[in-house]
Symmetry: C2
Subunit: 96 residues, 2 copies
């Protein structure tokens, strides 16, 4: 999978509200009613993440979940990261 | 809840293998067979964490989970953090 330029990624993120790029990673923070809801959200990501075989880094702080994607094997960002971002948004919206 | 000294905490952590102190937080990394198992472990923490009303910071990177405790309201480490560390070890060992 070929690396995207930062400019490409930034342009594409315009269509993914809340996602921002920081260096070679993209991330978004989601906020829930409480800790159980935050963990339940992470659990709902598992089947799709496993199917894509592309794993986000997930940080749970009480009722927030920070999701970060990067393609370490490519040394940057790829289409797989943008697909991951869309997938996580769909799970959050209940449409995945 | 009163703050413990770093020396107190370090002495107590001798009885909790794998837990280390870094500044005003303690942390331990757990490794699992894969991402689903890592997320399942985090899910198993929810009832006890909610009952204690003391939430660890949790970072899931593929098949590892980093668990960190600190008592932000006390500006340091307290008995609640040590109790949390013991609880997470017990869940990991299947004895909680």
């Amino acid at each position: 999978m070929s690396k995207l330029t930062h400019a490409d990624v930034d342009a594409r993120l315009a269509g993914l509200p809340g996602w921002t790029r920081e260096g070679d990673a993209i991330h978004k923070q989601y906020t829930f009613a409480g800790f159980p809801e935050a963990v339940a959200f992470v659990s709902r990501l598992v089947p799709g993440v496993e199917a894509a075989d592309h794993h986000p880094d997930l940080t749970i702080n009480y009722r927030t979940v920070l999701v970060a994607y990067s393609t370490h094997s490519a040394g940057g960002l790829t289409e797989k990261d943008l697909a991951g971002a869309r997938f996580v948004d769909e799970v959050h919206a209940g449409t995945a």
